[in-house]
Amino acid sequence: MAAIFKANTRGKKMSEALESLFWILIFPGFLLTVAFGLVASWIVRKVSALVQWRVGPPLYQPFVDVMKLMGKEILIPQDAQRTVFLAAPIVGLSGVLLLSTMLWRITIEPTKPFVGDIIVAIYLMVLPSLALILGSSASASPHAAVGTSREMKLVMSYELPLVLAFVVVIIKTAGLIKSEQQLDLAAISQHTLVLSISGLLAFLAALLCVQAKLGFVPFDIAESETEVASGVIIEYSGALLAIWKIMQMMMLVVLPLFLVMVFLGGFGTKGWGLVWGIGKYVLVLVLLILIKNTNPRVRIDQAMKFFWFYCGAVMAIAIILATIGNYYGIGWL
């Protein structure tokens, strides 16, 4: 009797594990995010082309890029630190993978037990940048070393306003959400915070921080092709480079989705909610593309000054406004 009971619970754990693996690898984790990422990457290139009055690549171009990279040989420099060099792209990919699975699960089934909250999301968002820094510092190339130092400085600069922006969100939803659900993303995404002054300021600062995290101009300092010959990923080739590219495509899906959930009122899943959600995501994506196409690349010291002093000061003002608005119950502050 006891043996049958034990066998049942073991079978249940096994099926739970298989179910989680399905979520992470197929739907809604890896395959779904990569598919959307390919389309999002094409949208970026096509809109950039249209802004520059040219035609741009066909729809299958990002897919063919990745396929071609898979078919090339992998070259590892002789002096490179092999373990870190090979493991870094995989660590970064796993970070984005978990983040995407978490966000999609919360969007599709908001009432499921704890998958992750806003702190887990902030935590996982740092992993890809960290993996990039580790991978490039293991590359044993002076260009990669310059790229590493620039990427480290960039990450140090934009993490502060990004976290402050989320603190504004948490302060503003303090009165509107039950206190045990304070950090829960499903609860936060019910409220459209961009319709208030501090929410709007926080959204703009978070947008610029996401621009830096994605490595888009004006903040593509680490991977600047002409200055440091593709600094951080200079020594990567073949399938490892394909993993970096896939990682960037997935971040292009996940980070605007995160912004939509936290600031713009979430991503509905039924009927008009879904259309409206996709519209919000495309709006954030197009904002990123337009900022990308109308700005030159800035120097690393200009970027640090911008994020710490300007974005940081604006975020401090936003936090003060949000606290005052929360205390006196003024909704639009």
Partner: protein, 143 residues
Amino acid sequence: MNWKIWSLKKSPWVFHVNAGACNNCDIEIVDLLTPKFDVERFGIKLVGSPRHADALLVTGVGTRQAAIRLREVYRQIAKPCVVFCIGACACGTGIFHTGYHVAGPVDQIIKEVDPNAIIAYVPGCPPKPEAMISGIVKALSVL
């Protein structure tokens, strides 16, 4: 057809190497990659590192100093790859053929490293960007 070669044809990423050119062909290559000629519709993208590249755009007659570096760059490209000799000097030393500094035209230099290298020639002094596009598309279609 092999999926590797098919995807190489659809998405050739180029890296530009100056092996001792007078800069004329380099200027034409740089303006080829501007939005006016829109080579992105062929999937062509300029990359900053030879390890990311599929096609090498070599300009200039191979000088003695540049020949050593050109061979190093070729070794660093992830195979399979194509080498494009842009301009009359790269195709066959052009007007410099009796020069003391010449270490052979580019295809001879590359073939010392890899006798089976795939090399395409785009003549001109300098070749017009339209000629370069036509050369690249024709070379990729016979791969």
